[in-house]
Subunit: 292 residues, 2 copies
């Protein structure tokens, strides 16, 4: 069935490329003129995001909104978060709420309600699997419905990944593979027409040596890929986590949001963001072509 | 030095006992008369919490506020969350924000800012360690300051704990021990006069067979212990995770919040909550005495 949100994301990638614009909107990223123009911080953040969204909507497949940046500003920040998600929905853009929640039972149901309904509704959310697969279960009714999806942490690209994710299990696999396998199996119930599941995985784009193994092993898992650009991952690395240029989206935040600093044009920060998104899209497209 | 927040919690446990009142305030827990009395849901939740806090402040060591229940109601819910934390601070009660956040670098700094400062400031927060120890680092400057602490997930009591936490590592330990050891070592920099660290751990109170080993191994780690009562853990089990009745706090949410249903007195829901907190406190005290 082509009713899953993951199929919509797959189609967007085919049309617009793999770029996921990370709206990690730190107040100090916002040009001074835009701060001055707005009476309060909530409006300034929202207008900044709105302009970035308008400028990159056809150069990106989706937008990842990192809630921590908004939580840090309390109620006002979360008002801007809410309005950003509403604006994305209004523009028919796909939103990924990067919330990395991880809890069980009634609590997890509350998180599902919080981020798949109401003020903070988004299309996808990220989850952390430390508590196990019953910390994923409460979200599944929304996946069954078709219009919501998740990305659970599988293997991240930070140094601390060695403290747990890279540990060798007695049974022979690494922790990240063990978690990846469980999520992959769980995801087979939610396969869309695209061949990908509504249960996606967060897989950082460094550690290229494992890329081929991970991509094959987690065959029907769509990847949310952080670590490109500012964090050191290259287009050639990214290409290995994709299948013919699809099957994943690649997040970039700072490099897109702060592109205007390199261009030296605060006024047109949105145009700089668009140009960087297009540059990144084409760079990855070329790397995918070369890897064929 | 006796300046750490963990020492304050230790003193509170000596004075008031180990009960941690879980403010998992689901709207359907609030008696109808209180809902009717208030014009909006935010005020109703806050008044409910306020009455529970007033009634249990001297029968409990601390209050754990589960943010998911508030997030589920969007901005209004988070307004009630903010006011609840403010009220706890005003009454000099110790608050634990059960947020289970887990992220790295700039994002984790934002979470620290969000929950150790500003609108959502609390004394302790819970964290999830899937991304590794660098997902803990950004909180440490607040711990150094002395007035903030964390509880990181070590071993939970849900079925899904088997999917990861109970897995055997090649090196011979289980995942939860490996994580526990790393946190325990990290915590040695933040030891208070009480002998406990400002880096605490969440350790569920079931699986009693391992209680003695965990308590010995993580000697200077203060435990936040869920799983009592509604979730099946007994006072005798809990006693094994404590050291002479301290070194941990035991959370109970539903059993305290909904005690009025057993008493059949909606009007005095706060008195029922108090009585249940006292009953639980004494039951655990007795179990600790017996275990000596």
């Amino acid at each position: 069935m082509r009713n899953y949100i993951i199929d919509k994301l797959y189609d967007k990638v085919n049309k617009n490329g793999v770029v996921c614009v990370g709206l990690d909107t730190s107040v100090d990223y916002i040009p001074q003129w835009l701060l001055d123009k707005n009476e309060n911080i909530e409006d300034a953040i929202f207008e900044y995001n709105q302009k970035i969204i308008d400028a990159t909507a056809d150069a990106a497949s989706c937008f990842k909104v990192q809630i921590a940046y908004y939580e840090a500003l309390g109620i006002k920040g979360l008002m801007a978060y809410k309005r950003t998600l509403e604006y994305l929905r209004q523009k028919d853009c796909i939103s990924i709420a990067d919330i990395k929640r991880g809890d069980i039972a009634a609590t997890a149901k509350m998180y599902a309600k919080a981020h798949f309904e109401g003020d903070f509704e988004s299309d996808f959310i990220t989850l952390s699997p430390y508590m196990g697969m019953d910390s994923i279960d409460p979200y599944l009714p929304y996946l069954e419905r078709g219009d919501k999806g998740i990305f659970a942490l599988v293997r991240t690209s930070n140094k601390g990944a060695e403290d747990l994710q890279y540990c060798d299990l007695k049974e022979g696999t690494k922790v990240y593979s063990h978690i990846g396998d469980q999520l992959h199996n769980m995801g087979k119930k939610f396969l869309g027409d695209s061949g990908y599941s509504a249960i996606g995985g967060v897989v950082g784009c460094t550690h290229v040596e494992e890329a081929v193994e991970i991509r094959e092993r987690l065959n029907s898992m769509f990847f949310l890929i952080p670590g490109y650009g500012a964090q050191g991952g290259k287009a050639e690395d990214v290409a290995l986590y994709l299948k013919e240029g699809n099957g994943g989206v690649v997040n970039s935040s700072r490099k897109i949001l702060l592109a205007y600093k390199e261009d030296g044009n605060e006024k047109a920060f949105d145009i700089s963001a668009r140009n960087e998104a297009l540059r990144m899209r084409d760079e990855i497209r070329n790397a995918v072509e070369k890897a064929r």
